[in-house]
Amino acid sequence: MQFPMIEAKIPVISAIATFHGEGLLAHKTMLGLERVRREAEAKGISVELVAVLDCADRQTKRVVMSSPILRANDQVLEVSNRDLGASRNSGVCVARGSYIGVFDGDDYYTKNWLIQALAIVESKQGDVIVHPEYVINFGTFHTFTDLWDMDDRRDYSLANCLALHPWVSCSFGRKDLYLQHPYQRTDFIKTGFGYEDWHWNLELVSQGIRHVTAKKTALFYRRKSVSMLTGMEAAGVVIRPSEFFNHPVKWEKPSEGTPQLAEQVEIDDKTYIEELLKGKAWLESQWIALQSALIEKEAYLTDVLSTKDWLESQLRDLLARQKRLQSALPVRILKKIGMITDD
């Protein structure tokens, strides 16, 4: 595949914000994100905005697409996932930054959020996901609470995570972590499962990834009388089954910089095949994302093409990964998961 030679402009961070029916609030959210971006850029950290419009209503779509803060290199992705987690995955798939920041379409953040979060990721040993230190609620109620930093509060037990969620959806981390551990769909109206962030955060813990916080940062969380969250709470929604709950014996004594669970999880054939299928699904989703990116409208295409180097490296990675998978697997399993056929 040949791409025209255009100077690549690869951001450090991709800020992924999901929108659905925020209406005019989306405008304010965009302004809030720009405030965070400018602060980061003042420190030399480039940030692209990836706005994911998931079945967004006309007003929300208009507000986001005509936002004055959008830049040529930002991306606006229209999807029909009808699912918050799946839309974040869509954003991650097209993100060009090495780091991902996950934002919601109607909240605010302290302007230092990305700077501090990046500093934490770079200073910590092992894999971490960073959350703000505080959640400051506004709107229908006014409380503030701190989030659990697993490195700081060793006395707090993971056993709490059955009854409550000590983190939030606002997160920051290396992109590869988001690629390796995509959000699972909830489809909560159909399945009764919800809280995709709670589930995702626990899944990462089960893979030995720690959740930490960036000091003096906050998420300003808009509380509404009616929202998806209140809908879930009223419906008594629960989170999907998670690997996290399969090994409670490992909930105690998390150790800094050391994977807690993943290394100890026994992988049987079924799990192994499931992992491979996930890998295959990931490869396919990457490929679809690349293809869809390439057929977007002209201005967008130009923007995508400017990331030629990145795209090529991604493709190389994909091919290499596919080869590795193929060479690591018996033909029987390759046939089973459809990576090769009898022909």
């Binding site: 304010k28 302004l31 809030g32 405030r35 605010y108 302290t110 302007k111 505080y134 400051i136 506004f138 006014h142 409380t143 503030f144 609470t145 701190d146 989030l147 659990w148 509060r153 707090y156 037990s157 993971l158 056993a159 709490n160 995570c161 059955l162 009854a163 409550l164 000590p166 489809d187 109206i189 159909k190 399945t191 009764g192 499962f193 003096k216 906050a218 300003f220 008594g236 629960v238 999907r240 089954p241 998670s242 709950f245 399969n246 409670p248 014996v249 909930w251």
Partner: protein, 439 residues
């Protein structure tokens, strides 16, 4: 846009840097401007600590160790013979069975289940939790297990789980079955029972309902319009292994056995005894409430009634060979095991023709009383039985034939095996999961 002069804030739990952020964000959303009033509304709440649920869940999982059940049976705890039959059927099919008791109650029969069956006393372990919390633990256990088949037998927590989280159970391909036996009566005289409380709400999430009588199956279909293919009858087997021996001497003496509870109609028994002063009655059982105690006192006043207290086995009582027949007076029931036991022990039966009783005690197999509230009707049938010992024997023989042909473990196992997806591959049912979305 310029900000007003900085206002001093005396009442403020928010960190100063957060207040400054609010001041800047007010440029975008003016309502966030940190006035004294606005900031004073804020209250700090630390990360809540609610680890007890997680700890109890961990204890449950630790007890299960590496046990990977094929079938999970949810029971309340207490004395429930039907559970044993289903456990046995599961074992006979080569299934690994996990029984979870959901109430804080002793389960005396647990010693009778095979050691290969795992038994988890969730209700006792989680006795300090609220019902909602117990439900959280139970739901997480069920969701995390790879087991696909969940069977609810008289567990209210199990029914609640299906009512509230049926969609989620279906979404992870759990197949939920429920056993129901009969409607009962509450203290006010109204009908009550699990089917009344839960069947309508839970129907979309149930693969099938299993009854222990043909009568209740028909009754459910008539009451709720359930599709017939989803309601099954599996007659419980008798637990008596010995060949039945007729044990009904001609010298008249009647036996009554059961809990002294309102639904057992001891008031009827008392009237029957009053109307039959020449017939001695031996009553075995114990009071479970004030009604039972009051009835016990009244019985003690009757010269022809002897109250013996609790009993372990009907078989040993009948073995005294002094009783001519069993009198059964309950107001409602499925198909009571007592009637099977009495027949197996050698006794003919005079019984109120309520619920599933006529499934077993009909005109050919015993002495059903159709006017179930009329003491005279019982007296008449008792006299009929006592005056014709040959006919009494003939009917008992017929009851034994029915017992031996229908109430066998093998027959029960095969009947349960007929329930789609319970032991075998599942064929999807279009009505399962067809729940309308709220408008």
């Amino acid at each position: 846009m310029t900000s007003p002069p900085h206002q001093s804030l005396e009442v403020n739990d928010l960190p100063e840097w957060a207040v400054e952020e609010l001041r800047e964000l007010a440029e975008i959303e003016p309502q966030l401007y940190p006035t004294r009033n606005f900031v004073s509304r804020y209250k700090y709440s630390g990360i809540p600590v609610r680890r007890n649920l997680g700890d109890l869940y961990a204890s449950c999982l630790e007890q299960l160790s590496d046990f990977a059940p094929d079938l999970i049976i949810l029971v309340p705890g207490g004395d429930d013979l039907g559970v044993l039959h289903h456990v046995q059927a599961g074992i006979s099919e080569g299934k690994r069975v996990l029984v979870i008791s959901t109430e804080n109650a002793e389960s005396p029969w647990r010693t009778r289940i095979q050691p290969t069956v795992q038994f988890l006393e969730l209700g006792r372990l989680c006795s300090q939790l609220s019902e909602n919390q117990r439900l959280s633990v139970l739901l997480r256990l069920v969701l995390q297990q790879k087991t696909l088949v969940i069977h609810i037998i008289n567990s209210r927590l199990g029914w609640e789980m299906v009512r509230r989280y049926g969609k989620s159970l279906l979404a992870v391909e759990k197949r939920v079955y429920a056993s129901v036996f009969a409607d009962g009566f509450n203290e006010s005289g109204g009908r009550s029972g699990f089917a009344i409380d839960y069947l309508v709400d839970c129907w979309p999430f149930l693969q099938a309902v299993i009854c222990d009588s043909a009568w209740y199956r028909k009754d459910l279909i008539a009451q709720y319009g359930c599709q017939q293919e989803k309601v099954f009858t599996a007659y419980f087997p008798t637990t008596v292994e010995d060949a039945p021996v007729f044990s009904s001497p001609s010298s008249p003496r009647a036996l009554w056995a059961g809990r002294f509870a309102i639904e057992k109609r001891l008031d009827l028994l008392i009237e029957i005894a009053r109307l039959s002063p020449e017939l001695p009655f031996d009553v075995y059982g114990y009071a479970v409430d004030d009604y039972g105690r009051a009835m016990e006192e009244r019985m003690l006043e009757l010269p022809n009634v002897t109250v013996h207290g609790a009993y372990d086995s009907l078989k040993y009582i009948v073995a005294k060979n002094v009783y001519s027949l069993l009198v059964y007076t309950s107001r409602s029931d499925g198909l009571p095991n007592l009637l099977l036991e009495a027949t197996a022990a050698g006794l003919p039966v005079v019984a109120s023709a309520v619920g599933g009783v006529p499934d077993f005690i009909g005109e050919e197999t015993g002495y059903p009383v159709w006017a179930v509230n009329e003491p005279h009707a019982y007296v008449k049938r008792i006299q009929e039985a006592l005056t014709d010992s040959e006919e009494r024997r003939r009917r008992w023989d017929a009851a034994v034939d029915l017992l031996q042909s229908r109430h066998k473990a093998e027959v029960f196992r095969l009947r349960v095996k007929d329930v789609p997806g319970y032991f075998t591959e599942y064929l999807s049912d279009p009505e399962v999961g067809s729940v309308s979305e709220p408008k």
